[in-house]
């Protein structure tokens, strides 16, 4: 049994059919990278997976549970699906520490002390122990994003969804965030939408190329980069490599 199974997901906004039947699966601890031009439905797919925007058709199974079942307590399921945003979306009125601990306290019912203790551990994991008392507006973009990752990690998710986590960062800050993500590989499953081909090549177990609301091709990085089956994949990877550098 796969940890995550996405089965024939369809999603429309009004008359616009964005996802036209997406299916794939992931194993425990695996890292999959989704690539594709903008407007292709990558963000929509992530939002379907954690039911921020429930799909119109199709099923999503996580750890053997059909989470698209309307009877399910979605707030419980969401704790198991972390989400990291391009725009960070930190809670502006809370310190880095409280950003990480508030979910533990309010959602998991930890005491404040226990929640903050665990939050400190998570901040250490992303290299921000010293910034615990700082507010989001006092952090750099890269630090903000690492708090965002710590916030997701704190809930002990089985999978974290990343929606272009480095796209809003200055180039010199991207590395720190990618390093943190790399350090999580095989500890927690990650489904990452990104244009960082170096990360895709070196960290991903699987690369999924999406276009026009369908998966054009998927496979391990080696196959995708060296031997793509579809001409379209080859063309896209060629273009993106010149844009974003080979590694």
């Amino acid at each position: 049994m796969h940890m995550l199974e996405v089965k024939d997901i369809h999603k429309s906004y009004g008359d616009l059919e964005v996802l036209k039947g997406i299916s794939f699966s992931m194993n425990k601890g695996e890292t999959a990278v989704i690539i594709g031009t903008s407007g292709t439905g990558k963000s929509t797919l992530l939002r379907c997976i954690n039911q921020l925007h429930p799909p119109d058709k199709g099923e999503i199974w996580l750890d053997g549970v059909n989470i698209t079942d309307p009877k399910i307590d979605i707030n419980k399921i969401r704790q198991k699906i972390g989400f990291v945003f391009q725009e960070f979306n930190l809670f502006n009125h809370l310190t880095a520490l409280r950003n990480v601990s508030i979910g533990l306290e309010k959602v998991k019912g930890f005491t404040k002390e226990k929640a903050e203790k665990k939050a400190i551990e998570e901040l250490k994991r992303v290299g921000l122990k010293d910034q615990a008392k700082q507010y989001p507006a006092q952090l750099s973009g890269g630090q903000k994003q690492r708090v965002g990752i710590a916030r997701a990690l704190a809930m002990d998710p089985t999978i974290i969804l990343f929606d272009e986590p480095t796209s809003a960062l200055d180039p010199e800050l991207i590395g720190d965030v990618l390093d943190v993500m790399k350090s999580l590989a095989h500890k927690v499953a990650m489904l990452v939408v990104t244009h960082e081909m170096g990360f895709a090549r070196n960290v991903a177990d699987e690369i999924i190329f999406m276009e026009g609301g369908v998966i054009v091709e998927s496979g391990p990085p080696k196959q995708m980069f060296q031997n793509p089956k579809k001409a379209r994949t080859k063309e896209f990877l060629g273009r993106i490599s010149t844009l974003y550098g080979k590694d």
């Binding site: 969401r78 945003f85 725009e87 502006n92 700082q134």
Partner: protein, 223 residues
Amino acid sequence: MESLPSLLDGLYITLILTFISLIAGLFLGIGLALGRVYGGKIVSAICIGYIEIIRGTPLLVQLFIIYFAFPSIGITLEAIDAALLGLSLNSGAYQAEYLRGSIQSIPSGQMVAARTIGMTKLQSIKNIVLPQALRISIPAWSNELIYLLKYTSIVYIIQVKELTAEGKFIAAETFKFLEIFAIIAIIYLVLTIVFSTIIEKFEKKLRIPGLGEKAKIGLRNAL
């Protein structure tokens, strides 16, 4: 100076009217703002309707309805209670609009993020949206306090003996119009300055580090 005790009585009523209406209006305002922003179609329409009716009619007319017209449908209120109710209902509508502006100025991604860690909508509103929205509303709230302080004087028309009413009574008896009204004006002025200074301190203290002063929300004109 023998008129001082009754002026103090009036001042006491004025302060009671101001603070109770401000607090009651705050709770009403929070309910209305949340209903308007997060409620379904019907709840939101009811909130908008209420806010527009209150803001679209004079406070004096609202007070007359509560004090003079309510008895005909079986609700008879003491003048002071009618004044409290009228001012609270009125302030609630204005505070709702300040708060709505604050709520809508908070980036919606924060609410989304709260939901992704498993918070319910209610938890997200309580823990993420409201603490920020209330902070942003503090300057508007200060303005509302001063507005209420001065507009409580209108309730002398329904026989509530607040500061202005007492002053008018004393002035009519002693013919010392200038002295009495000058004293009253100074009392309002001092209170206004004291209150705004206190709230400004409070606002600075609660300001989120690293964030600059927030954009101003459209306020009702506190003349």
